[in-house]
Amino acid sequence: MNEVSTHPVAHQHTAPTGFIRKYVFSLDHKVIGKQYFGLALVSVFIGMVLSWLLRIHLAYPDYHIPLLSKLSATGAPGGVMTPEYYLSLLTMHGTLMVFFVLTNAPFAAFGNYFLPIQIGAEDMAFPRFNMMSFWTTFAAFVVMMASFFVADGPPISGWTAYAPLSAVGGDAGPGLALGQDLWAISIAIFCIASLLGALNFIATTLDLRARGMSLMRMPYSTWAWFVTSVIALLAFAVLLPACVLLILDRVAGTSFFIPAGLVLSDKLQAHSGGSPLLWQHLFWFFGHPEVYIAILPSIGIIATILPVFTRRPFLGPKALIGSMVAIGFLSYMVWGHHMFVSGMNPFSATIFSIPTLIITIPATIMTLLLTGSLYGARMRFDTPALFCLGFISVFISGGISGFYLAQPSLDTYLHATYFVVAHFHFVMAVASLFGVFAGTYFWFPKMFGRMMNETLGRWHFWLTFLGVYCVFMPMHYLGLVGNVRRYSAFVDDYLAPLIPVHRFITIAALLTGAAQLIFLWNLIWSRFRGPVASENPWEATSLEWSTTSPPPFDNFGGKHPVVNHGPNELGMDGPDGTDFLMQTAPPKNS
């Protein structure tokens, strides 16, 4: 009776049989999590190859890539990309990475797979929504990819799609007709998918926690996914209408973002009175929280994994969770720092810069807590642990440069230079991906029942860690010289001398990219040949490690886990000689 009334989900059904229901249109959050993971993996490698092409073009403008002319004869006649095609690929690199990788991998993929298990639920609150949100995301992906194959190729307006460039259509240049339509539609679809997903995450966390799983007993990854889903719910709810208005401006002749009296290709545009800044405000109101949508889950993942390898409880759980919530809250007050020189009221710049600087406090707290929990530990340096250390390092590097850009007076010099590129790649892209790597090496045994190869894993870490510094640290120096971003060639007198630096970066990028192939190979090899994983190979404490690897269809084989302990009871005398206590272990006092 008590059992029934406290436990969320009632009696079992049997797992679906048949390929379609089991692997394609599956309602199982674990399958959906893997689907997201797969989609992110495909996207990240496409995005990476794009970045290779961009880097090669910047460093060796005359280098012919025959394959490229195959991909687009007009975009790259004879294998050398045109300026517009460079911008097309740039836009696609940004869009794919931000939306389909940094939003999907740490949040949607791992969140889907592990949030329900970590709180002892059998599935998401709304499995059908869950399936829908993946397939909607997939649809968005297909539409986005389609823009590669339309007449003028993908849009050239960057992932921020600033109006009016993105709004006036083909008169503004190649890729801005059909390509930009597809982009806007794809992003709108993506918003719907993310809203469904976020709703599901929140409802699940609120309603489906196992008996004894109080909020403060949730693993930090779950906390991160929960906070992130709240951010996502509000952020995408703003981007969606923004995209709809953009689409209307493009196809229905409205004037939300297009002012009067524009002359493009010698044609006076028919629009009147719209506000380009309105788009920027709406976009960045989403765009800045999006940064935290990308990074918070990774912080949560790291904070969950690190203690397992330092073999001791996390230093200051409350401070960590508090910081996450604070960041989530503050992330909605700082969007204007993307617009210091945008022509908005200069007074508001000073207003926006203050919360922007303040947001570094919770960030610093989290970084110090992570670092502090290493102090005097008996650490196990398996690959996940290495990526945790790497994460802390790149997060510091990326966070520091934030101090510069948060100040309007310095932003007037550094805005839109490679300094910005370096900053957000470190703090958002690389840091977030290190979290994903750590998560992959850590959870792979749980997801696929086999361990990943340790040697390959270490090689992957060392090369990647050194590589990202070689790629992104020099970009700070380029930024200080005033090297403008989003240039397809460096024709200005003061930029030509910087080409050698770009060559160095390009070579480093190619090598770092190549190192990711080790990771890919490790995934494939371990999936089939890796040593079989035990139930709890890392001696971790959270619920996913109290079930089989991989978990059964209903996660706990009909059992209803009862939680008696916090998320990391480590570095103490556990049962039969171990140094840890599972969350499900019987209470100490009994």
Partner: protein
């Protein structure tokens, strides 16, 4: 393993810092009256954050070193003072950093953006278009002609959309492809865009300001060094973005007057 990481992270940190402080790659000399404050601000930030960066990375390396190769029975030490001490440190250190930076920084920002141009400033109109800048001087009559977008015609060199047929003030307006200004004289720019968003960026002036279609955005500066500097576009504006540039030519007062005469002659 932890020791290896410690070594690597320390190495990376020192090399990175070195290039910052050796000024191997650095800003060009400042030539504006407001730029000095920006440079000062940059130095402040550089030192402040440099210390944080160094401390953070080295602490990470050091702890990783300590945490490696411990024997099973070595006692696990807890961080002195626990989380509380760290939280307090973070709030204090970063808080102080923030306060100083905002206090100093807001002055630098104010000098550029929150104070209007001096009354006697030389007015120059800037038109940005895909993918060039054009500059307009009032000409002998000191009057700017009105702007009529429908009159814009690149083919006949009417980049601003002037209407000389009906607008006398427009007839002697001087339109050129370079921004030529006298040294040590306040200049007040008005930025228009004909088509999409662009940006006005001169490194030596320590200045960047977007053009927003539909808005006339003011910007003012005083150049203190005679010379030729590059104006580049920093707001993605289409396929020719990378090649959207012009030159800022700062001349001595007489040279400038001479130049103005020859232009008015044409």
């Amino acid at each position: 393993m932890g020791k290896a990481f410690a070594v690597l992270v320390t190495l990376i940190t020192l090399v990175s810092i070195a290039f910052f402080f050796l000024h191997t790659w650095w800003l060009p000399p400042n030539i504006s009256t407001t730029g000095r404050a920006v440079d000062h601000q940059l130095e402040e930030t550089l030192i402040g954050t440099g210390v944080l960066f160094l401390a953070g990375q080295l602490m990470l390396g050091w702890f990783a070193w300590m945490a490696s190769g411990k024997s099973k029975d070595a006692p696990a030490k807890r961080f002195p003072g626990g989380a509380a001490s760290l939280v307090v440190t973070a709030i204090l250190v970063v808080g102080i950093e923030i306060l100083t930076l905002t206090f100093v920084g807001s002055k630098a920002w104010g000098a550029i953006y929150l104070t209007p141009a001096e009354p006697g400033a030389l007015r120059v109109d800037v038109q940005a278009e895909q993918f060039a800048f054009y500059f307009r001087y009032a000409g002998p009559d000191g009057q700017f002609g009105g702007i009529h977008p429908e009159k814009i015609d690149d083919g006949s060199g009417n980049y601003f959309g002037l209407d000389p047929a009906n607008d006398v003030a427009a007839r002697d307006d001087i339109v050129v492809g370079s921004l030529v200004v006298p040294v040590n004289r306040p200049i007040s720019l008005t930025l228009h865009s004909k088509d999409v968003g662009h940006s006005f960026y001169v490194r030596e002036l320590r200045m960047q300001q977007d053009f927003v279609p539909g808005l006339d955005i003011p910007l003012h500066f005083t150049a203190t060094q005679v010379g030729k500097y590059e104006i580049v576009c920093t707001q993605l504006c289409g396929l020719g973005h990378y090649n959207m540039k012009a030159y800022l030519e700062v001349m001595s007062e007489p040279d400038y007057e001479q130049w103005l005469k020859t232009q008015a002659g044409q």
